[in-house]
Protein backbone atom coordinates (compact mmCIF):
# COMPACT_ATOMS: atom_id res chain seq x y z
CA UNK A 1 0.00 0.00 0.00
CA UNK A 2 1.39 3.41 -0.99
CA UNK A 3 1.39 6.61 1.03
CA UNK A 4 -1.30 7.85 -1.35
CA UNK A 5 -3.58 4.89 -0.45
CA UNK A 6 -2.90 5.30 3.27
CA UNK A 7 -3.85 8.98 3.18
CA UNK A 8 -7.19 8.17 1.54
CA UNK A 9 -7.79 5.37 4.02
CA UNK A 10 -7.03 7.55 7.03
CA UNK A 11 -9.28 10.31 5.74
CA UNK A 12 -12.27 8.11 4.95
CA UNK A 13 -12.14 5.18 7.38
CA UNK A 14 -13.76 6.97 10.30
CA UNK A 15 -15.57 9.72 8.46
CA UNK A 16 -19.29 9.98 9.25
CA UNK A 17 -21.45 10.98 6.29
CA UNK A 18 -24.89 12.39 7.04
CA UNK A 19 -27.69 9.84 6.77
CA UNK A 20 -31.27 10.84 5.94
CA UNK A 21 -33.96 9.85 8.48
CA UNK A 22 -35.85 8.10 5.69
CA UNK A 23 -33.18 5.35 5.59
CA UNK A 24 -33.98 4.21 9.14
CA UNK A 25 -37.72 4.52 8.45
CA UNK A 26 -37.34 2.17 5.47
CA UNK A 27 -35.25 -0.29 7.51
CA UNK A 28 -37.84 -0.22 10.30
CA UNK A 29 -40.64 -0.87 7.80
CA UNK A 30 -38.78 -3.90 6.43
CA UNK A 31 -38.16 -5.25 9.93
CA UNK A 32 -41.84 -4.77 10.91
CA UNK A 33 -42.98 -6.47 7.70
CA UNK A 34 -40.59 -9.34 8.30
CA UNK A 35 -41.88 -9.71 11.86
CA UNK A 36 -45.51 -9.70 10.64
CA UNK A 37 -44.68 -12.36 8.08
CA UNK A 38 -43.12 -14.48 10.83
CA UNK A 39 -46.27 -14.15 13.00
CA UNK A 40 -48.49 -14.90 10.00
CA UNK A 41 -46.33 -17.90 9.15
CA UNK A 42 -46.65 -19.13 12.73
CA UNK A 43 -50.48 -18.90 12.61
CA UNK A 44 -50.55 -20.64 9.23
CA UNK A 45 -48.40 -23.45 10.58
CA UNK A 46 -50.51 -23.73 13.75
CA UNK A 47 -53.73 -23.82 11.65
CA UNK A 48 -52.27 -26.44 9.36
CA UNK A 49 -51.23 -28.61 12.31
CA UNK A 50 -54.75 -28.35 13.82
CA UNK A 51 -56.33 -29.42 10.50
CA UNK A 52 -53.89 -32.33 10.16
CA UNK A 53 -54.58 -33.31 13.80
CA UNK A 54 -58.36 -33.24 13.30
CA UNK A 55 -58.06 -35.26 10.08
CA UNK A 56 -55.88 -37.91 11.72
CA UNK A 57 -58.14 -37.97 14.81
CA UNK A 58 -61.28 -38.36 12.69
CA UNK A 59 -59.68 -41.10 10.63
CA UNK A 60 -58.60 -43.02 13.69
CA UNK A 61 -61.97 -42.56 15.45
CA UNK A 62 -64.31 -43.38 12.58
CA UNK A 63 -61.93 -45.80 10.93
CA UNK A 64 -61.50 -47.61 14.28
CA UNK A 65 -65.31 -47.79 14.92
CA UNK A 66 -66.15 -49.20 11.52
CA UNK A 67 -63.48 -51.82 12.11
CA UNK A 68 -65.08 -52.69 15.47
CA UNK A 69 -68.46 -52.92 13.79
CA UNK A 70 -67.00 -55.19 11.16
CA UNK A 71 -65.61 -57.48 13.87
CA UNK A 72 -68.95 -57.48 15.74
CA UNK A 73 -70.93 -58.20 12.57
CA UNK A 74 -68.56 -60.92 11.50
CA UNK A 75 -69.11 -62.75 14.82
CA UNK A 76 -72.94 -62.97 14.26
CA UNK A 77 -73.59 -66.61 13.09
CA UNK A 78 -76.64 -65.79 10.96
CA UNK A 79 -74.71 -63.27 8.91
CA UNK A 80 -71.76 -65.56 8.58
CA UNK A 81 -73.93 -68.14 6.90
CA UNK A 82 -76.73 -66.32 5.12
CA UNK A 83 -77.17 -63.59 2.55
CA UNK A 84 -78.25 -60.13 3.71
CA UNK A 85 -81.86 -60.60 2.67
CA UNK A 86 -82.10 -63.91 4.45
CA UNK A 87 -80.86 -62.29 7.63
CA UNK A 88 -83.94 -60.09 7.70
CA UNK A 89 -86.16 -63.09 7.25
CA UNK A 90 -84.31 -64.96 9.94
CA UNK A 91 -84.55 -62.02 12.29
CA UNK A 92 -88.27 -61.57 11.50
CA UNK A 93 -89.01 -65.18 12.07
CA UNK A 94 -87.10 -65.00 15.33
CA UNK A 95 -89.32 -62.12 16.43
CA UNK A 96 -92.41 -63.96 15.32
CA UNK A 97 -91.32 -67.05 17.20
CA UNK A 98 -90.61 -65.05 20.30
CA UNK A 99 -94.07 -63.46 20.06
CA UNK A 100 -95.76 -66.80 19.60
CA UNK A 101 -93.89 -68.14 22.61
CA UNK A 102 -95.00 -65.14 24.60
CA UNK A 103 -98.60 -65.68 23.40
CA UNK A 104 -98.44 -69.36 24.24
CA UNK A 105 -97.01 -68.56 27.68
CA UNK A 106 -99.71 -66.05 28.48
CA UNK A 107 -102.53 -68.43 27.38
CA UNK A 108 -100.95 -71.18 29.48
CA UNK A 109 -100.88 -68.88 32.51
CA UNK A 110 -104.52 -67.93 31.85
CA UNK A 111 -105.55 -71.58 31.66
CA UNK A 112 -103.71 -72.38 34.88
CA UNK A 113 -105.40 -69.46 36.63
CA UNK A 114 -108.82 -70.65 35.44
CA UNK A 115 -108.17 -74.22 36.65
CA UNK A 116 -107.01 -73.01 40.05
CA UNK A 117 -110.22 -70.99 40.47
CA UNK A 118 -112.24 -74.06 39.76
Amino acid sequence: MTQFDSTIREKLENFDSPVADSVWQRIEMELVEENNNKVLGFYWMAGLLVIIGITIGAFLYFGGNSEAQEIQTASTPAEQVDEADNNIIVTDSYIMTTKSIETKDSSFIKNMKALSKK
Binding site: F4, I8, F15, S17, I27
Partner: protein, 183 residues
Protein backbone atom coordinates in the same frame (compact mmCIF):
# COMPACT_ATOMS: atom_id res chain seq x y z
CA UNK B 1 -30.47 10.75 28.33
CA UNK B 2 -29.27 7.46 26.89
CA UNK B 3 -28.44 4.68 29.35
CA UNK B 4 -24.97 3.14 29.28
CA UNK B 5 -25.10 -0.29 27.74
CA UNK B 6 -22.37 -2.73 26.73
CA UNK B 7 -21.97 -3.88 23.14
CA UNK B 8 -23.04 -7.39 24.10
CA UNK B 9 -26.19 -6.12 25.83
CA UNK B 10 -27.00 -3.91 22.87
CA UNK B 11 -26.65 -6.83 20.46
CA UNK B 12 -28.82 -9.06 22.68
CA UNK B 13 -31.56 -6.43 22.81
CA UNK B 14 -31.40 -6.04 19.03
CA UNK B 15 -31.71 -9.81 18.55
CA UNK B 16 -34.78 -9.74 20.85
CA UNK B 17 -36.31 -7.23 18.40
CA UNK B 18 -36.10 -4.17 20.65
CA UNK B 19 -36.69 -1.42 18.10
CA UNK B 20 -35.28 1.38 20.26
CA UNK B 21 -31.94 -0.41 20.61
CA UNK B 22 -31.91 -1.38 16.95
CA UNK B 23 -32.20 2.33 16.14
CA UNK B 24 -29.38 3.03 18.59
CA UNK B 25 -27.12 0.50 16.91
CA UNK B 26 -27.99 1.96 13.52
CA UNK B 27 -27.16 5.49 14.71
CA UNK B 28 -23.80 4.29 16.04
CA UNK B 29 -22.54 2.95 12.70
CA UNK B 30 -24.75 4.49 9.99
CA UNK B 31 -22.49 7.50 9.32
CA UNK B 32 -19.33 5.43 8.76
CA UNK B 33 -21.19 2.86 6.69
CA UNK B 34 -22.77 5.62 4.60
CA UNK B 35 -19.24 6.83 3.74
CA UNK B 36 -18.43 3.28 2.68
CA UNK B 37 -21.57 3.06 0.52
CA UNK B 38 -20.85 6.43 -1.08
CA UNK B 39 -17.46 5.06 -2.20
CA UNK B 40 -19.12 2.14 -4.00
CA UNK B 41 -22.41 3.61 -5.16
CA UNK B 42 -22.90 5.56 -8.40
CA UNK B 43 -24.86 8.25 -6.59
CA UNK B 44 -26.33 9.20 -3.23
CA UNK B 45 -29.57 7.28 -3.84
CA UNK B 46 -27.77 4.05 -4.66
CA UNK B 47 -25.59 4.51 -1.57
CA UNK B 48 -28.71 4.90 0.60
CA UNK B 49 -30.18 1.72 -0.93
CA UNK B 50 -26.96 -0.16 -0.12
CA UNK B 51 -27.03 1.14 3.46
CA UNK B 52 -30.67 0.16 3.94
CA UNK B 53 -30.25 -3.33 2.48
CA UNK B 54 -27.00 -3.82 4.37
CA UNK B 55 -28.46 -2.91 7.77
CA UNK B 56 -31.50 -5.14 7.25
CA UNK B 57 -29.00 -7.99 6.65
CA UNK B 58 -27.06 -6.94 9.77
CA UNK B 59 -30.20 -7.17 11.95
CA UNK B 60 -31.23 -10.46 10.34
CA UNK B 61 -27.86 -12.10 10.95
CA UNK B 62 -27.03 -10.60 14.37
CA UNK B 63 -27.66 -13.97 16.03
CA UNK B 64 -24.80 -15.44 13.99
CA UNK B 65 -22.27 -12.92 15.35
CA UNK B 66 -19.84 -14.88 17.53
CA UNK B 67 -18.25 -11.90 19.36
CA UNK B 68 -14.89 -12.76 17.81
CA UNK B 69 -13.10 -9.78 16.27
CA UNK B 70 -14.47 -6.26 16.10
CA UNK B 71 -18.20 -5.81 15.76
CA UNK B 72 -17.68 -2.81 13.48
CA UNK B 73 -15.51 -4.97 11.22
CA UNK B 74 -18.29 -7.56 11.07
CA UNK B 75 -20.88 -4.91 10.08
CA UNK B 76 -18.43 -3.43 7.55
CA UNK B 77 -18.01 -6.82 5.88
CA UNK B 78 -21.78 -7.25 5.48
CA UNK B 79 -22.15 -3.75 4.03
CA UNK B 80 -19.25 -4.30 1.60
CA UNK B 81 -20.78 -7.59 0.38
CA UNK B 82 -24.15 -5.88 -0.05
CA UNK B 83 -22.52 -3.06 -2.00
CA UNK B 84 -20.62 -5.51 -4.23
CA UNK B 85 -23.84 -7.41 -4.96
CA UNK B 86 -25.48 -4.19 -6.04
CA UNK B 87 -22.74 -2.77 -8.26
CA UNK B 88 -22.30 -4.18 -11.67
CA UNK B 89 -19.10 -6.16 -11.89
CA UNK B 90 -19.40 -6.49 -15.65
CA UNK B 91 -17.51 -3.23 -16.00
CA UNK B 92 -14.36 -4.88 -14.70
CA UNK B 93 -12.63 -5.88 -17.88
CA UNK B 94 -10.40 -8.92 -17.68
CA UNK B 95 -7.67 -7.33 -19.81
CA UNK B 96 -4.27 -7.07 -18.19
CA UNK B 97 -2.43 -3.96 -19.20
CA UNK B 98 1.28 -3.46 -19.20
CA UNK B 99 1.88 -1.85 -15.85
CA UNK B 100 5.36 -0.68 -16.78
CA UNK B 101 3.89 2.40 -18.48
CA UNK B 102 2.16 3.55 -15.33
CA UNK B 103 4.37 5.74 -13.18
CA UNK B 104 4.09 5.65 -9.40
CA UNK B 105 2.19 8.51 -7.78
CA UNK B 106 4.51 11.27 -6.67
CA UNK B 107 4.56 12.59 -3.12
CA UNK B 108 3.12 15.91 -4.36
CA UNK B 109 -0.26 14.29 -5.01
CA UNK B 110 -0.31 12.77 -1.56
CA UNK B 111 0.32 16.22 -0.11
CA UNK B 112 -2.54 17.73 -2.14
CA UNK B 113 -4.72 14.84 -1.13
CA UNK B 114 -4.12 15.48 2.56
CA UNK B 115 -5.33 19.04 2.07
CA UNK B 116 -8.61 17.96 0.50
CA UNK B 117 -11.69 17.47 2.65
CA UNK B 118 -13.24 14.03 3.17
CA UNK B 119 -16.23 15.08 1.06
CA UNK B 120 -13.99 16.11 -1.81
CA UNK B 121 -12.07 12.83 -1.71
CA UNK B 122 -15.36 10.92 -1.63
CA UNK B 123 -16.54 12.82 -4.70
CA UNK B 124 -13.31 12.08 -6.59
CA UNK B 125 -13.48 8.35 -5.76
CA UNK B 126 -17.17 7.95 -6.55
CA UNK B 127 -16.60 9.55 -9.96
CA UNK B 128 -14.14 6.80 -10.93
CA UNK B 129 -15.32 4.22 -13.48
CA UNK B 130 -17.08 1.27 -11.83
CA UNK B 131 -14.29 -1.32 -12.19
CA UNK B 132 -11.49 0.97 -11.04
CA UNK B 133 -13.56 2.17 -8.13
CA UNK B 134 -14.34 -1.32 -6.79
CA UNK B 135 -10.75 -2.55 -6.96
CA UNK B 136 -9.29 0.69 -5.56
CA UNK B 137 -11.75 0.69 -2.64
CA UNK B 138 -11.16 -2.95 -1.80
CA UNK B 139 -7.37 -2.68 -1.98
CA UNK B 140 -6.51 0.81 -0.79
CA UNK B 141 -9.28 1.51 1.73
CA UNK B 142 -10.54 -1.90 2.88
CA UNK B 143 -7.07 -3.46 2.86
CA UNK B 144 -7.86 -6.60 0.84
CA UNK B 145 -5.03 -8.35 -1.01
CA UNK B 146 -5.09 -8.83 -4.80
CA UNK B 147 -5.70 -12.54 -4.23
CA UNK B 148 -8.76 -11.79 -2.06
CA UNK B 149 -10.08 -9.26 -4.58
CA UNK B 150 -9.60 -11.74 -7.43
CA UNK B 151 -11.53 -14.43 -5.51
CA UNK B 152 -14.26 -12.01 -4.49
CA UNK B 153 -14.86 -10.60 -7.97
CA UNK B 154 -14.09 -13.69 -10.02
CA UNK B 155 -11.20 -12.04 -11.88
CA UNK B 156 -7.52 -12.89 -11.97
CA UNK B 157 -4.91 -11.19 -9.79
CA UNK B 158 -3.30 -9.51 -12.78
CA UNK B 159 -6.57 -7.78 -13.61
CA UNK B 160 -6.87 -6.56 -10.02
CA UNK B 161 -3.33 -5.08 -10.14
CA UNK B 162 -3.98 -3.50 -13.51
CA UNK B 163 -7.28 -1.92 -12.40
CA UNK B 164 -5.65 -0.56 -9.26
CA UNK B 165 -2.78 1.04 -11.15
CA UNK B 166 -5.19 2.64 -13.61
CA UNK B 167 -7.42 3.83 -10.76
CA UNK B 168 -4.46 5.52 -9.07
CA UNK B 169 -3.44 7.20 -12.32
CA UNK B 170 -6.97 8.47 -12.89
CA UNK B 171 -7.20 9.70 -9.31
CA UNK B 172 -3.97 11.57 -9.82
CA UNK B 173 -5.43 13.34 -12.87
CA UNK B 174 -8.63 14.13 -11.01
CA UNK B 175 -6.76 15.55 -8.03
CA UNK B 176 -4.72 17.70 -10.38
CA UNK B 177 -7.89 18.95 -12.04
CA UNK B 178 -9.45 19.55 -8.65
CA UNK B 179 -6.44 21.53 -7.54
CA UNK B 180 -6.60 23.73 -10.67
CA UNK B 181 -10.31 24.46 -10.12
CA UNK B 182 -9.85 25.33 -6.47
CA UNK B 183 -6.88 27.63 -7.06
Amino acid sequence: MTEHISERQLISKCIAGDRMHQKRLFDMYAGKMMTLCLRYGRDHLEAEDMLQEGFVKVFRSLNTYTFKGSFEGWIRKIIINTALNKVSKKYISNEINNLDNIEPISADYTEILSMLSEKEILKIISDLPEGYKIVFNLYAVEGYSHKEIADLLGINEGTSRSQLAKARKLLQNKIEAFKKVSL
